[in-house]
């Protein structure tokens, strides 16, 4: 924990990359998100934590155009001074804005190779159309070469160079997670949304992931992270937002969150038999942190 970044002070509007204001998402009578607000400072790693069913993935889906919240606003700043509204855009259009995501249950293109998976992300920014592809003009070939080079660079960045030509479904689980991140990075995002990247990975893979997330943040890309693994959250996150029953119950630096009594209660319940692994404070000291057994039922 010695590498803990200094807690950021109150961000000025110019430093923001994402500004979520009072979004409310209802499914019939069920309120999945209730006036959730959060701000994300450019270049930092913001982690969203919370018990199962707290609305973390719903929040992600709102930010990426999958769900349309009934109320609220989401503002995204691709660069300082440029403001774009996220709500109302289709998922691919949100991606165009500069928000890329990964999925809780890995969604790679299984029959394609690792390289091709990354290229699909990169090529969503290119111009070659069907006619150009059929005619194979020099500028189309140049784009193809650029796409190859960029894909190899990204595979190297996430440490999968040797597996470039392997079919993605044959990769080990942790590699698939990192490949999904590489594909998302291929779309040149300003903001990367990671939905439980450490779920199902082993301790060694978790350490690699920790290094990778730091490396991504160092390149200037802001990271919004949903994670159950408290050790990972505490080591990479600059700030933490805690959700419970669709509401933000706490936000602050990891250290502040660890001390917050409402967070402890949200994770433990009052009077429940302690599942110590889920308590941020204790989990931070234990390695590897185990998830509560019910984790995988969340969708």
């Amino acid at each position: 924990m010695s590498a803990q970044p200094v807690a950021s002070t109150a961000a000025t509007p110019n430093d923001l990359v994402l500004d979520v204001r009072d979004i409310t998402l209802r499914f019939g009578g069920l309120t999945s998100l209730d006036k959730v607000s959060l701000t994300h400072t450019r270049g930092e790693v913001l982690s969203v934590i919370g018990p199962n069913g707290a609305g973390k993935t719903s929040l992600f889906n709102c930010l990426t155009g999958v769900y349309f919240p009934q109320e609220g606003e989401v503002r995204f700043y691709p660069e300082a001074g440029v403001e774009r509204s996220v709500l109302g855009r289709k998922p691919y259009a949100v991606n165009r804005l500069g928000i890329a995501r990964t999925f809780q249950n890995i969604r790679l293109f299984n029959a394609l190779t690792a390289l091709e998976n990354v290229k699909i992300g990169i090529e969503s920014r290119q111009k070659t159309g069907p006619i150009g592809a059929m005619l194979h003009m020099p500028w189309n070939r140049r784009e193809e070469r650029e796409s190859d080079a960029e894909a190899f660079r990204l595979l190297e960045f996430v440490g999968l160079t040797k597996r470039a030509n392997e079919v993605s479904s044959s990769l080990p689980y942790g590699d698939q997670r990192r490949l999904e991140i590489a594909r998302a990075l291929g779309t040149r995002p300003q903001l990367l949304l990671l939905d439980e990247p450490a779920a199902g990975t082993n301790p060694a893979e978790k350490r690699q992931l920790e290094v990778l997330i730091r490396a991504i943040a160092e390149t200037g890309i802001s990271v919004l992270l949903i994670e159950h693994d408290m050790k990972l959250v505490m080591s990479v996150a600059t700030n933490v937002v805690v959700l419970n029953f669709g509401q933000v119950i706490a936000s602050g630096t990891p250290k502040e969150i660890q001390r917050d009594p409402s967070v402890v209660e949200a994770y433990l319940g009052s009077g429940d038999e302690a599942d110590s692994a889920a308590v941020p404070r204790k989990a931070a000291k234990k390695a590897p942190a185990k998830q509560p057994p019910a984790t995988r039922t969340e969708d």
């Binding site: 990426t64 999958v66 289709k90 998922p91 691919y92 259009a93 991606n95 165009r96 890329a100 995501r101 999925f103 969604r107 790679l108 293109f109 299984n110 029959a111 394609l112 091709e116 290229k119 699909i120 992300g121 090529e123 969503s124 920014r125 290119q126 070659t128 159309g129 069907p130 592809a133 059929m134 005619l135 194979h136 189309n140 784009e143 193809e144 796409s147 079919v167 479904s169 594909r183 998302a184 291929g186 779309t187």
Partner: protein
Amino acid sequence: MSNPTLERGETPGPGSRLPWHRNEDYRRMFSLLMVGLVVALMTGPSGNRDHPTDGFTGSWFHPRVLLFLGAAAAIGVLMTLYDRSKGAGRRNPLQPVIAPITAVRDRMTSQPLLRYSVYAAILVFAVLYPMTLTPFWQRVLVDQIGVYVLLALGLNIVVGLAGLLDLGYIAFFAIGAYTTAYFTGKLPVAPPFTLNPFEVVPIAILATLVAGVLLGGPTLRLRGDYLAIVTLGFGEIVRILAVNGDAFFGTNVTNGPRGAVGIPHPSIHAFGINYDWTLKSLPYYYLLLVLVVGLLIAFNRLENSRVGRAWTAIREDEVAAAASGVPTVKYKLMAFAIGASTSGFAGVLYASKVGFISPDNFLLLFSLLVVTMVIFGGMGSLPGVVLGAAVLQWMPQVLRGKVPPEDRYIYFGALLILMMIFRPQGLLPSRRRSRELKLSEEGLGGADSLGATPGTTS
């Protein structure tokens, strides 16, 4: 023809203690004999109201039945012997035929010299071989095979690459053909100017492109089965419009069921070349060959380009594709339009070669036939699709005169069933597609062979 589910699970060997009726060899033999009886009944005489039992006396109680039962028994014994010789595991009996082809294909990707020599050999064969054929087979090669190869290549983009099941594909063929009839002045309504069929090509491509976008725009947000039903409806709408178009608000537009007659052959009078295509099939064959080779090159590039990869991404996981920045509706529309315009192009050639079109050329059956060709050859695989179209159009012609005409579809069906049992991925499957099929068998990918992933939302 055995039911593969009978052979899964326990595999009792020769020394098995299982009762005979649970022994798989006997069970298979029983199924085969039943199939023999059914085939005997189906190929025998049919009864009528006065003699309802004629069907049975003429087939089951006739020495003919022994032929079918004997054939079934022989197949059963051969399959059993084959299984024994290969030990316990069930092996694909087509393997010895397929293995060398697969080996060559694998090497072709890494060795350009081998690749180009194989292409050159196929091309030389395709140029020279038809010269040795009789006029009948030359005609089959153009009217049946060539045109359907074009159709299958176009549909392969829609079904094989983008994973959209289009059951009304022949409608675009019809639009292409009717556009030709219109602009050559062979429909009751006079065109503003008459054109040579070659000059109609760009117009027909444009018309089918527009038709594809018009149909695709509102329907492509549907998935899988729903899309199939809507496109099926579209195919029927176009055909019925053609049938009833002889009284279109009081004017005769399409000449109704009688269709258009006397559509001229194409000719070239430009760039110092003067050539007229006539009733002879061979010149048409070479025209088609040039077009097919051109399309093969273009579509192969398309498949391995940004566009082809985007289609694959959409087919495999539409949600993930959208999250990776692929505008899914736009790409689906693109696939639809490219497939439609290929079909319209084929329609122009067909209309000008045969010279006569009527709504009967554009039945639902033909849409299904093209889908079958794509699946039979191997979805998403260009050589596979060409081969599939060729085999399925060639087979009925071979059977012509050899078997009673009404039996031809039995053999056709038997071929398809055998194919689905022993080689569900198609004759020459694309690598991506075979991987997908394998993954879905393991429960990892989409269970639907067309690539729809279950459980996806939006």
